[in-house]
């Protein structure tokens, strides 16, 4: 596994302190970017939170996911959550160490009592004393939130950061984080439950701490009356709930939820397990968990990201769009297309491409992209995608021949044929036989695609 480390440098630890007329939650920031470029300690917000206790519980849920590994929990991983200011809302995001769960708390305008936020994305420090303090938050205490360093304290602490966190940053983690957004863009609303129904459903789930990796993925069919009927296999309209224990991160906010909305990709009878998104409504907030198709299956291997290679122009278009985006809460595709002079299809392709680089997020609740740039080097992670690397090696070794519509790939003794059917490149290799598109294209199909795009020369240079 390729991994690097990231060092997050905060001025001071985040803390919850008593202040005049309530508590002050000072979330410290490190690194990140904004429309004004890269920043060391950006400030996004200062103001009162409408529902302090619910917000604290939501933030803890996000932090729980960041610190969790639902598969092989004895190993640890902890990256700080990422916060994005979109002008009218704050989004707190995290991704579990097992690469299987993405969590996002959207604090909407009413949750921020209408105050606006600066624009940009950064890491926020979540430490043990802060977690304890948030858990203990007394009822009915007004909460003043500040995302960013205290401007008054800055003058005295200008020498440099006091808190440094060095955290491993595995490539697959960054890749998976980006992948969730690409997959979520293909989700549709499957079910909507009111508060009572949602509580009844969430309480009926197993409460065990550790998810069972071997358990068969559960399927739920939305039935009238706010019921998510369990069923033994996939049918059209069903949502996959793999590792229901992973929804345990919602338990902290269970008391406060106002509803549950469930999203998933279209499935057909007998489908393999798929990803799903579970969004709970909270007063002035939304908390969304996106689950991978299996407890032992991270998002990083899903391969949806690799599909964006299909379009030749997507990379250039993406570069163009990235200049136009300025942390919008909602990216209007038509408007963006008009600005860039691109048609809708090309804008969509380019947005997918940006998603794979961690430079755009997708909000299933609004069925719209929003701008945020992960404060990690996601491009690097994507470039080191094992399947893509193998495909380049095949191209570099001259193993690919094009024979009309069919691509012939020679790999050692074996010869594989890559053919297109219903717009999907299939292959005769065992890997493809096993997943049949469920995890994106195989390395042979990618290699054929690369050759078709005429990247032979460029790639050969990249391999050496």
């Amino acid at each position: 596994m390729t991994r690097t480390a990231v060092t997050l440098a905060y001025r001071t630890p985040s803390a919850l302190e008593p202040s005049a007329g309530g508590s002050l939650l000072g979330l410290q920031t490190a690194g990140g970017s904004s429309p004004r470029g890269a920043m060391a300690h950006p400030s996004f917000f200062a103001g009162f939170i409408a529902s302090p206790r619910v917000y604290a519980a939501g933030l803890l849920s996000v932090a729980d996911v960041a610190a969790a590994r639902y598969y092989r929990p004895e190993r640890r991983a902890s990256l700080d959550p990422v916060v994005t200011g979109n002008g009218d809302r704050l989004r707190f995001e995290s991704f579990s160490g097992c690469c299987g769960v993405h969590a996002r708390l959207d604090v909407l305008a009413e949750g921020l009592e209408g105050r606006t936020t600066e624009r940009g994305t950064t890491n926020v420090d979540v430490n043990n004393p802060l977690r304890e303090a948030l858990t203990r938050l007394a009822p009915d205490e007004p909460l003043h939130l500040r995302v960013g360093p205290d401007e008054l304290a800055v003058t005295t602490a200008a020498e440099g950061p006091l808190v440094e966190k060095k955290v491993p940053l595995p490539d697959r983690w960054v890749r998976g984080f980006a992948e969730t957004q690409v997959l979520a863009a293909g989700f549709d609303l499957r079910a909507e439950l009111d508060a009572a129904q949602a509580v009844r459903f969430l309480r009926s789930l197993p409460a065990g701490g550790t998810a069972k990796a071997g358990a068969p993925a559960g399927w739920r069919i939305p039935a009238p009356g706010g019921v998510l009927r369990p069923t033994s296999r996939a049918v059209p309209g069903a949502v996959c709930l793999a590792g229901p224990e992973r929804l345990g991160a919602l338990r902290r906010v269970l008391r406060h939820i106002t509803g549950l909305r469930v999203y998933g990709p279209p499935v057909r009878a007998g489908s393999e397990p798929v990803a799903s998104a579970w969004e709970v409504g909270l007063p002035g907030m939304r908390l969304t968990l996106t689950l991978s198709p299996g407890v032992s299956r991270g998002f990083s291997g899903e391969g949806a990201v690799l599909q964006s290679l299909a379009s030749d122009t997507a990379a250039e278009d993406a570069e163009l769009l990235s200049v136009l985006l300025a942390w919008e809460a909602r990216v209007e595709i038509a408007e963006l297309g008009a600005q860039a002079g691109l048609d809708t299809a090309r804008v969509r392709d380019a947005l997918t491409r940006l998603g794979t680089a961690g430079r755009i997020g997708y909000d299933v609740a609004e069925a719209a992209y929003y701008h945020r740039e992960l404060p990690y080097d996601a491009d690097r992670a994507e470039a080191h995608n094992p399947r893509l690397r193998d495909a380049r090696a095949l191209v570099g070794a001259g193993a690919v021949e094009l024979d009309g519509d069919t691509g012939v790939v020679r790999s050692g003794e074996q010869v594989y044929r890559v053919h297109e059917r219903d717009g999907v490149l299939g292959c005769t290799c065992p890997w493809w036989a096993k997943y049949r598109g469920g995890r994106g294209p195989c390395k042979h199909a990618l290699a054929v695609r690369l050759v078709r795009r005429g990247e032979l020369v460029a790639m050969a240079g990249g391999v050496a």
Binding site: R131, E132, T135, R200, G225, G270, G426, T428, P430, W432
Partner: protein
């Protein structure tokens, strides 16, 4: 050791041409550096010999003599060697030692601290060897200055993957440096494991002694206690009050003053607050319990207890709840705070916690009645609890204290009461000053509409691929053992069609497929069987052993097997052999006849007629098994087994569906006549089809429901976890038509099947699964064949027994007693996933209007009485089905199932759980008919059984009152 070093020194001295300097230096100290150039060269050679030979001790010894300049010059070559080792394949006897020697040599030659740490942590050099011998590391690095050593130590400690196992090395280096000890997670974990005592009997030193003696204990122990994962892992090993266990040693250190008791307590509570896996939290809870907070400390932690009671895992929450109870008794907990905590605790699913919290509220109101207005609305939070008994408890509590509450409290309670059942609401209603608000979810708003899933729509078979490359892609999937039934059918048909159309093109595309030969079976038939679709692929490629194919073709047409299951196993092979034979003999079939139209395995008559016309055009005769299977799969209009109605209620409005059925039959007869006429024009095969349609398809086979025992010694108990002696099964009669008019192996399926005389073997289970694709119009016979395998899910707790029941329920033929019995077994299966599949099947039957609820209920009762069904499982399955909205259906099933169970002499275990489901259904359906046998049950005793029986009685009383 000194002796060996001395001998070696003598060797070195003897070899040197200018010996005096070397000898003096060697004699002066055993590990000092060689001073002359010649000696340096000598030890360099020794080093290489030792490194390459994998002699760790000699490597270290030689390195100790080399100065920095020489060491630095060696580095490129050492790196080269490491790369060489990485490329190495296979395993040699000193594989590990050679790498370890290189590890120490390289670490000793690195001049930068960062590079040395990276080299020491190299995974490729230390695989299979966990902890590094720290004395070696110290020896190769001893000449470095302390700051450098400290740097290496801290760098190693910062590596999350190796820090714990390198604890000894890190500690030795840090001690030599004289600087501070690292405190990373990995180092703390390594320290904790190193201190742990595994077997107190083997050592005189206890963990307590070790911790007491270690100067860094006061620094590291708090770190351990603040990390739930590491602390949980290390301390949970042995949780007892003993100096050898962490949970015993820590309190003793507190008592001795080495650790501060108050700090330890605070740290542990904070760790509990942050949460983690319940198992990892246990030692922390143990410590907090052991250290027993004083009343003052407990009061200071009020916020913590409140948060833990609401959110922590149940054992921790239980402990926190006890502390809250103490604080309440001491007057340290205000009513407002208790109300706030209660709102959280009562929301939890754990019954024990909810019950205790209700008691707490009760006690609080009893001692200060003026608090009722604050506390009772909080108690009403439990009205929404999933457990009926707890709701009742909360209702009683609120009812008791209601007169003490103010108007605002009444208002809030009335609002919350909407979530209660009507019986419970009635208890509150007379004491409440405000009418109960209706529940927005509509749970209790009168009889409910029955919600069933839509009737199944069979999935059509997608278009077969035409492009040779696309066919190769699909066949690769099948060769890899993947793909559904439909994928197989479509792939085989595509192969046959393409071989007929363009064999050369197909041959080229298939040539690249992975190897498919199956050579490890001596018997022809097994060889053919395990070839799978590869048989046809090899036929296309011309690589097939024709002799084998010929022998296989002959043996498959013989009536061989004694048991019906063997025929199912051979059918697939027989079809492949037919397809391969045509290709191998250069008379490829134009297409197959038996490829189904839809996922339920059926073929439309019009489609089959088209296919027969194709044969007529090609001037070919169909292959017998293909034709036979096509006849079994064809949808015969107006046949006895055909499913006339698509949907409808549970067999209630029979008049309506009779009319619909007669209309369907009339129009079916007309189309059928035209089909028969068309078929007659298509040669011998067409005549077969015409006769088949005229006769109405395959006559139904006799099925006999029987309870019996297997003959002695015929049951495979070795894999069963439970024994059931009396077995309920279906005996299948012979099908004369199959035996007389169909080729082998289809004819073999016409044999009678007596499950008692031919007990199922474990390996037969999978073979029978295909039965539904052979007899899609006769699910009854299929269910009877499957019954022993499905029953095993309930009788012997096997997994996956019922997974195919939904297919049975969706089959186009009409389901009857055998299908109902199979579903009954599935509802009693051991594994939840199987019960879920049975529930799916049950709801599908209900949605199709084919469910006979009374039949199913009677079957269920019989299974329970025979010992095959457990009520806990059945209650779970029926509850799941009912909660999805099928209240009426499940009510009808349970109304039939319960009376025999209520009146039997020995009341079955967990009857109350099933009665609870029945009561849930009855309350929603609102029946006025008393359940026979309900009089046998107790009333008003407070037991689960009596409570549920009372609920059922109340429903009848209420219905009578309204009537």
């Amino acid at each position: 050791m000194t002796v060996t070093v001395d001998t070696e020194m003598a060797e070195a001295a003897g070899a040197a041409t200018t010996p005096s300097a070397a000898v003096t230096s060697a004699a002066a100290a055993t590990s000092e550096m060689a001073t002359t150039e010649h000696a340096q060269q000598f030890f360099t050679e020794r080093l290489w010999k030792a490194v390459r030979g994998g002699d760790v001790e000699r490597t270290v010894r030689a390195l100790e003599r080399l100065d920095d300049g020489v060491r630095r010059s060696l580095l490129p070559e050492l790196k080269e060697l490491r790369a060489e080792y990485r490329r190495e394949e296979g395993w040699s006897d000193n594989w590990r030692e050679r790498r370890l020697a290189l590890l120490f040599a390289g670490a000793g030659c690195q001049t930068g601290a960062a590079a040395a740490a990276t080299w020491l942590a190299a995974r490729d050099l230390r695989r299979w060897s966990r902890a590094l011998p720290h004395e070696h590391v110290v020896r190769v690095l001893r000449h470095r200055d302390p700051g450098w050593l400290g740097d290496v130590a801290h760098r190693l400690a910062a590596r999350p993957t190796t820090a714990a196992e390198d604890y000894e090395v890190i500690r030795a280096l840090a001690e030599r440096s004289g600087g501070p000890m690292p405190a990373t997670d990995g180092f703390v974990e390594g320290w904790a494991w190193a201190k742990s005592v595994w077997n107190q009997n083997r050592t005189d030193e206890s963990l307590l002694d070790r911790l007491r003696a270690d100067p860094i204990t006061p620094d590291l122990a708090p770190r351990l206690l603040s990390d739930v994962e590491i602390g949980g892992r290390v301390m949970a090993w042995s949780m007892e009050d003993h100096p050898a266990a962490w949970t015993g040693a820590i309190p003793r250190l507190c008592a001795e003053g080495l650790l501060k008791r108050a700090d330890v307590l605070d740290t542990c509570i904070a760790t509990l607050l942050r949460g983690g896996r319940p198992a990892a939290l246990r030692p922390f809870l143990y410590l907090v319990t052991y250290l027993r907070p004083t009343p003052e400390e407990s009061a200071a932690h009020l916020d913590d207890w409140a948060a833990l009671a609401a959110d922590a895992p149940s054992t921790v929450a239980g402990y926190a709840q006890e502390r809250l109870a103490e604080l309440l008794a001491d007057g340290g907990l205000s009513a407002e705070r208790l109300a706030d905590v209660s709102a959280g605790v009562l929301f939890r699913t754990e019954k024990k916690l909810v019950r205790a919290q209700l008691q707490l509220i009760d006690r609080a109101i009893k001692s200060r009645r003026e608090d009722a207005g604050v506390l009772l609305p909080a108690a009403a939070e439990a009205f929404g609890h999933g457990d009926d008994g707890l709701r009742e408890r909360a209702v009683k509590l609120v009812r008791r204290h209601l007169p003490k509450a103010d108007a605002a409290a009444h208002e809030r309670i009335a609002e919350a009461a909407g979530a209660l059942t009507r019986t419970q609401q009635a208890v509150l209603a007379d004491a409440l000053r405000v009418p109960v608000a209706p529940d927005p979810a509509g749970d209790t708003a009168g009889p409910e509409e029955e919600l069933l899933p839509p009737p199944p729509v069979p999935e059509p078979l997608g278009p077969a691929p035409v492009e040779p490359a696309a066919i190769a892609g699909e066949i690769a999937v099948l060769l890899a053992g993947q793909g559904t039934f439909l994928d197989h059918e479509r792939g085989l048909d595509a192969l046959v069609r393409a071989a007929h159309r363009d064999r050369a093109g197909l041959k080229e595309a298939l040539g690249s497929l992975p190897a498919r030969h199956s050579w490890w079976y001596a018997e022809d038939e097994y060889r053919l069987q395990y070839y799978g679709i590869g048989l046809v692929v090899d036929a296309v490629l011309g690589e097939l052993d024709l002799e084998l194919l010929r022998r296989g073709r002959e043996s498959l047409t013989k009536a061989g097997e004694k048991h019906v299951y063997g025929a199912f196993e051979r059918l697939h092979t027989a079809r492949l052999v037919e397809a391969a034979w045509g290709i191998a003999m250069d008379r490829p079939l134009p297409h197959l006849l038996a490829t189904p139209n839809t996922s339920d395995g059926s073929i439309e008559v019009a489609t089959l007629l088209d296919r027969l016309r194709g044969y007529a055009r090609a001037g070919m005769e169909p292959e017998p098994v293909d034709l036979g299977l096509a006849l079994l799969r064809v949808r015969v209009p107006g046949a006895a087994g055909a499913d006339a109605s698509g949907s409808g209620a549970t067999g209630s409005d029979s008049a309506g569906s009779d009319i619909a059925a007669s209309v369907t039959v009339a129009s079916a007869t007309a189309t059928s006549a035209s089909h028969i006429a068309a078929a007659r024009e298509l040669g011998a095969a067409g005549e077969r089809l015409a006769d088949w349609l005229a006769a109405g398809g395959l006559p139904a086979r006799t099925l006999e429901r029987r309870v019996g025992r297997l003959p002695e010694g015929r049951r495979e108990w070795w894999y069963a976890s439970r024994k059931v002696e009396e077995l309920l099964r279906m005996v299948v009669g012979e099908s004369e038509v199959l035996r007389r008019d169909f080729p082998q192996p289809l004819a073999g399926m016409g044999r009678g099947y007596d499950p008692y005389a031919q007990p199922m073997r474990w390996y037969e289970r999978s073979a029978r699964r295909g039965a539904i694709t052979v007899f899609p119009h006769d699910p009854e016979a299929v269910a009877a064949f499957w019954l022993p395998a499905v029953a095993a899910g309930a009788e012997e707790d096997t997994r996956g027994a019922a997974e195919r029941l939904p297919q049975l329920a969706e089959a186009p033929g009409r389901p009857g007693p055998a299908v109902h019995l199979a579903i009954a077994f599935g509802l009693c299966a051991r594994h939840p996933q199987d019960r879920l599949a049975a529930t799916d099947a049950l709801l599908t039957l209900a949605a199709r209007g084919n469910l006979d609820a009374t039949r199913l209920g009677t079957d269920l009762a019989e299974l329970v009485l025979l010992g095959a069904g457990k009520l806990t499982r059945l209650a779970d399955a029926t509850r799941t089905a009912a909660q999805t909205g099928a209240w009426r259906t499940i009510h009808a099933v349970l109304t039939a199932a319960l009376p025999p169970l209520l009146t039997t002499d020995q009341r079955p275990h967990a009857l109350g759980a099933l009665l609870a489901v029945a009561a849930d259904c009855a309350e929603r359906v609102g029946t006025a008919r008393p359940l026979p046998g309900l009089d046998h049950l107790p009333t008003g005793t407070g037991s689960q059984l009596a409570r549920q029986a009372d609920r059922l009685r109340a429903v009848v009383t209420a219905a009578e009152a309204t009537a």
